[in-house]
């Protein structure tokens, strides 16, 4: 346990010392500042309360997508150097020659990265929720669940990056992880369009991608918890055009899918631990 906590703390310290925290902080302040400007302008428009809620709801999802993309890029490119990079450069040699289990070392790295990545997305998301609430008086129906799902989405992507970092180079692991994240999101949108058109084959693209990599599934759950329930009706209802809109989600996540996601994380991490344990350094 000491190893896990030591390595997790070291990973967070690395993110701080390498100015990743500073860079993300500046980016978050810029994004939140811009949205303050945008939302305060929106409050000045002559919109009905229903229209204002609808626009605020969609814009909130859009900004949150921005945050989750920043978190995905940031953590994917941090996980590569910290794990595969340390192995390549020789930094890991001295540490793993200590009486530590490689799985404990990997768990520490993963927890440090999750604390950092998920922490960022939750804090930035919370700041945005407060900004939207104060400027246009729109408060999401389930902000806590939404932020937890955003954090979970980052954790899922990080688990994948950790697995990739144990088998490929640092650069490749970052590129592949971000590529898969974006592909899954696009597949989710394509699937939703298929669903609204009643085309089962196209709809299945989204379902399959959500099984293979649960980031888009969690993102859709987060969107559902952020958005105004009236937004779906405004777009013609869940079965009509609303599903095809990329920044609206037609249904909350089921406990079965959440359970599957937890299982996915455990399985992929176990695979990473197995690969790392067998790796010749």
């Amino acid at each position: 346990m000491t190893t896990v906590l030591t390595v997790a703390a070291l990973t967070v310290r690395e993110a701080t010392r390498r100015r990743v925290v500073l860079a993300l902080g500046v980016l978050t302040v810029a994004l939140v500042g811009l949205s303050v400007l945008g939302f305060s302008r929106l409050a000045g428009e002559s919109l009905t309360s229903g229209e204002a809620r609808l626009v605020a709801s969609i814009l909130l999802n859009l900004v949150m997508f921005g945050f989750s993309l920043v978190a995905a890029l940031g953590t994917a490119f941090l996980a590569g150097p910290t794990l595969a990079g340390e192995t390549e450069s020789g930094t890991a040699l001295a540490m793993l020659a200590r009486p530590v289990r490689r799985s404990a070392f990997l768990l520490g790295k993963t927890l440090g990265l999750v604390a950092f990545g998920s922490g960022f997305v939750v804090l930035a998301g919370l700041a945005e929720v407060v900004v939207v609430g104060l400027t246009v008086d729109y408060w999401p129906p389930s902000p806590v669940a939404a932020l937890v799902l955003l954090g979970a989405q980052t954790a899922v992507l990080l688990t994948l990056t950790v697995l990739l970092s144990t088998v490929v180079s640092p650069m490749a692991s970052g590129v592949v992880a971000v590529g898969l994240f974006c592909t899954t999101w696009v597949a989710g949108v394509v699937g939703a369009i298929g669903g609204s058109l009643g085309n089962e084959a196209v709809e299945r693209v989204g379902s399959v991608s959500r099984i293979l990599l649960p980031t888009d599934g969690l993102w859709r759950g987060a969107m559902n918890a952020f958005q105004d329930p009236g937004a779906l009706t405004a777009f013609g209802g869940a079965d009509e055009g609303a599903g095809a809109f990329p920044f609206l989600s037609v249904a909350p996540l089921t406990p079965v899918y959440l359970g599957y996601t937890a299982l996915w994380v455990v399985m992929v991490w176990a695979l990473a631990a197995l690969a790392y344990g067998r790796k010749d350094l």
């Binding site: 010392r17 450069s89 010749d280």
Partner: protein, 312 residues
């Protein structure tokens, strides 16, 4: 178990490792006794670093057994009292040396007071640099830090893989002092170095690896057991040359001849000189020559290469 001598600091038997189609290590067995300093020598690609990494659980052997301080090397607990300076040394550039040492003490599960950690930095010549970022260090300073990392958690066995590759002559002398100090404190050391002179000065025993196999092993006295006599002779006759050849291998350069003689036999030289004079040879000079470890190592490696050529 009481009364039994302690298990060796390191022991391996039949270690094998293959990287795809290339066999890096083929049936390597040796031992490092408690408090003993053993040198690992061999040309590039002989498998020295791979053997070290297998001992430390960093590389999985394809076969064979390895024990560290009496415990199977694959168990993390076996490395509790082991210090290691890797050949490829690199430490977190965003930490300070003080933080790097604190990290390693924590990972080792040791309780080393701050004053002792500072003393450790001073031993390797980094006193006063404890709060600088490692990223700004030269290669030599990073290697000195690596040495401090290997020493900080009060090890009973230290593995130094090319510990002076980035050091200046002063740094090399410091490493020599560190190794001698470890030996004086009863800490076992496995030293892999290309600097044969360094090995010769500090090691009790030497293991020579060549192409993944142990080509020779033993104490320096055993390995350097052979001596040579350099003789300046004139009036050499066929019987005199025959007499010289009976003593040992002869190399001739004009009137100067070199003859290999057994080290432990004090009577050989006077008997040979007496016989040569008896055979009418004029003996102008007789110089005993001690074989250096470098010559011995080259001899071992060349003999191995010649054997391989013969077999092919």
């Amino acid at each position: 178990m009481a009364g039994l001598p302690p298990a060796p600091a390191a022991w391996c038997s039949g270690l094998r490792k293959r990287y795809r189609r290339r066999t890096a290590v083929h049936d390597v067995s040796f031992e490092v006794g408690r408090g003993e300093v053993v040198g690992l020598l061999g040309p590039n690609g002989a498998g020295k670093t791979t053997v070290i990494k297998m001992l430390l659980g960093l590389v999985r052997p394809d076969g064979g057994e390895a024990l560290l301080l009496g415990r199977p090397a694959a168990e993390p607990a076996a490395r509790t009292d082991v210090g290691y300076l890797p050949e490829l040394f690199r430490y977190q550039p965003w930490l300070t040396p003080t933080e790097v040492l604190a990290l390693h003490v924590r990972l080792a599960g040791a309780a080393v007071p701050e004053a002792e950690r500072k003393e450790c930095l001073a031993t390797v010549g980094l006193a006063g640099r404890g709060d600088d970022r490692v990223g700004g260090f030269s290669k030599g300073m990073q290697q000195r830090l690596g040495l401090a990392v290997a020493l900080v958690a009060r090890p009973r066995f230290v593995v130094l893989d090319e510990p002076t590759s980035a050091l200046d002559p002063l740094g090399r002398a410091d490493v020599r002092d560190v190794v001698l100090d470890l030996r004086a404190r009863g800490v076992a050391v496995l030293l892999n170095s290309h600097l044969i002179g360094e090995v010769e000065r500090v090691c009790d025993r030497v293991v020579v690896l060549d192409r993944g196999r142990v080509a020779a092993a033993g104490t320096l006295a055993e390995l350097l057991g052979q001596r040579e006599l350099r003789l300046h002779l004139t009036g050499l006759t066929a019987p005199a040359l025959e007499r010289l050849a009976r003593t040992g291998e002869v190399h001739r350069e004009g009137d100067w001849l070199t003859v290999a003689v057994p080290a432990d036999d004090e009577a050989t030289a006077p008997e040979l000189v007496r016989d040569l004079v008896g055979l009418g040879v004029s003996v102008h000079a007789v110089e005993p020559v001690r074989m250096s470890l470098e010559d011995r190592l080259l001899g071992i490696l060349r003999a191995g290469a010649a054997d391989r050529e013969e077999q092919s």
